[in-house]
């Protein structure tokens, strides 16, 4: 397969001015500052320029190099401000890099925002043509796909209504529909699916998957790890303008979710933080015999032991526990108030307390899991009493069911199959 995109030592630098409040510069300021500097220079001819204190350089991207093969569906992940959008903007030629080079083979279309160039006064029909043209389609091409676009957006009835009267859902549907019917060799999509209802999101994802299957290259930015895992084969993790990890989606997303810890162990201890009224000091995953283990099998229970240091009695203390897949899909969520029996966290006595949460045998399917934990109280000053987050991980193996580790699905529950007499 040929390379669709080759990025070599790409950097983008922005200069942040601290002095100017406005987004844009006014000529008045430039003239005034120039004059000020000129006067200063006359007065102190050997002084260094002071102006630099108000300017700060900021590397949005620094020394990025990677290659994307033709037909790949690539996810780009990272925290806010990691440089994802800057990268997409450079790839789609909206802004130019400060240094480095990119080689792109094929026609690029980018969708950094839904409905760019939509004019509120124009009707749906007019906006389809306008938006299509802005995204790089010809009139003939739009005419050919017009019906398909309208059907996809489900706005047949409102085609001749100005889009300013559209509901926001309709607006987004129409905008995505136009963009989805582009036929570029390389499609660049920023987080645009966060809008629209679940059903439409699914439709959009389906469309993007289809685009990928047709041998076109897709670059996709999202904060939704589930979507990334579903859609992308490879993944780039950007962190502070640099590549933190690149490779198969599963492992990159995994690493991102763990936030840089090499892997999640089955035991974790935390150092004292006197500010927290109640604090998780240690969490350990125990098998039925009470040993700390990383690998469980589906037929045994998983005991999550929490050692909680209570510094001040907290009425209404509540614990929540999430069991997540490495791609971020939440499989199970438990709240300490869910079941009335057992040790509720409400009003734990001051001192060290041990609480065990048990996942019964044959609940979760085989695979990798991550444990997310938190303590909250509605009655405390700070609602989040302690938020350790994703702290532990374990592996589950299925040894006894018919298909074992090849069994599909989220659960390992064995269901009875009975013949009944009528």
């Amino acid at each position: 397969m040929t390379d669709a995109i080759v990025v070599e030592n790409l950097s983008k630098q922005y200069i942040i001015r601290h002095q100017t409040r406005e987004k844009y510069t006014a000529l008045r300021d430039v003239l005034a500052n120039g004059a000020k500097q000129f006067v200063r220079k006359l007065a102190h001819p050997f002084a260094k320029r002071e102006n630099d204190a108000t300017r700060e350089t900021f590397w949005a991207l620094k020394d990025l190099s990677f290659t994307i093969k033709q037909g790949d569906r690539v996810g780009i992940i990272g925290r806010n401000g990691a440089g994802k959008s800057t990268l997409l903007k450079i790839l789609s030629r909206i802004t130019e890099p400060s240094s480095g080079r990119i080689k792109i083979r094929g026609r690029v279309s980018s969708l950094l925002e839904v409905g760019t160039g939509f004019h509120p006064e124009l009707t749906g029909r007019e906006n389809i043509f306008l938006n299509g043209a802005i995204l790089g389609m010809g009139k003939a091409e739009i005419t050919r796909k017009f019906d398909e676009i309208v059907a996809f957006a489900e706005v047949e009835k409102f085609l001749d209504t100005p889009v300013k009267r559209y509901s926001s859902g309709m607006y987004v549907r129409l905008a995505f529909a136009v963009a989805a019917h582009l036929e570029p060799e390389i499609l660049i999509v920023d987080e645009v699916l966060a809008v629209g209802d679940a059903q439409f999101q699914k439709k959009c994802l389906g469309k993007m998957e289809e685009v990928g299957k047709e041998g076109r290259t897709v670059l996709f930015v999202s904060h939704n790890m589930g979507v990334i895992s579903q859609l992308c084969m490879t993944c780039v993790w950007l962190d502070k303008g640099q590549i933190r990890d690149i490779g198969r989606t599963e492992s990159v997303v995994n690493a991102y979710m763990l936030n840089g810890q090499s892997s999640l162990s089955s035991e974790r201890a935390f150092s004292d933080d006197p500010k927290k009224l109640a604090q998780l000091k240690r969490i350990s995953l125990l098998d039925s015999k009470g040993n700390v283990v990383q690998k469980f099998d589906c037929d045994s229970s998983i005991n999550i032991k929490l050692e909680i240091h209570v510094r001040k009695q907290l009425p209404g203390l509540r614990g929540y526990l999430g069991i997540n897949k490495p791609d971020g899909t939440q499989v199970l969520m438990s709240d300490s108030f869910d079941a009335a029996t057992g040790t509720a966290l409400d009003s734990l006595p001051v001192g060290m307390n041990t609480v065990v949460v048990t996942i019964p045998p044959r609940t979760l399917g085989h695979g990798e899991y991550m444990v997310h934990i938190g303590l909250t109280s509605r009655l405390a000053d700070n609602f989040y009493v302690d938020s350790p987050g994703t702290v532990c991980g374990f592996t589950l193996d299925d040894f006894t069911s018919q298909r074992g580790n090849r069994r599909a699905g989220f659960f390992s529950t064995l269901l009875p199959w009975q013949r009944i007499e009528i």
Binding site: Y14, Y24, T25, A26, L27, R28, V30, K89, I90, L91, S92, R93, I94, T95, E96, P97, S98, S99, G100, R101, I102, K103, I104, R105, G106, R107, V108, S110, L112, E113, T116, G117, H119, E121, L122, E126, F129, L130, A133, I134, L135, G136, G138, K139, P162, E183, E185
Partner: protein, 276 residues
Amino acid sequence: MTESVKELVIEAGRSERHYWKDLWRYRELFYFLAWRDILVRYKQTAIGVAWAVIRPVLTTVVFVFVFGKLAKLPSDGVPYPVLVFAAQLPWQFFANAFADAGNSLISNANMISKVYFPRLVVPASAVIVGLVDFLISAVMLVGLMMWYGVVPDWRIVTLPLFLALAVVAAMGAGLWIAALNVQYRDFRYIIPFVVQFGLYISPVGFSSAVVPEQWRLLYSINPMVGVIDGFRWAILGGESQLDWIGMVLSIMLVLVIGITGVWYFRKMEKRFADVI
């Protein structure tokens, strides 16, 4: 697709060889942006397109009254309203196209920071919109000339040349202001000033024959003098004379504005998305 395996290189400070080819590929966008501006302009107005007629008519009435009736300026042997309207035509076009092109980038800021296309498309479509208004006014001029029985001679065939001159002048000046406007919003305030001031220093309300002989060349430094004189010469026929030296000067200046406008715009273009 025919253009499938072409390789594009993005590099800092690289002037794109594809630029003019891209501009051609996006040719339909010129049309669509102009179409949008025309469609939108008269939406939610009660009298709609009539505004395109009323504005030049009212200005002409005022000019005829002030310069023709009160000041009693000479009219080159044609009815004063025809004299004024023949100049109104290029001037209105220049003023509208220049102002719209100058503001075009800012009013389309959202598009510029989110989609790639040759940025030259935006101010150029603003000029195209100006041309549509020009055509509406031209029809009115024809009506006016028929009313007064003014018949143009062979010189009318040179009119497209002078129109081209007006287009280049509006485009060049518009490009300068548009590019500067992205960085310094001060130029937003310069536009109405230029348009208002220009109306009086250009020979719109009067014939440039009014200007004393020894000042003519200096007067021609205003490139619109050449354009407007050219229009009158081409349309009115008869006694209106063309000052050839001034004309050449005007043409040269227009070309300089046009070429430097494109040059400056292209130079600044890559930074638009970062600073707009």
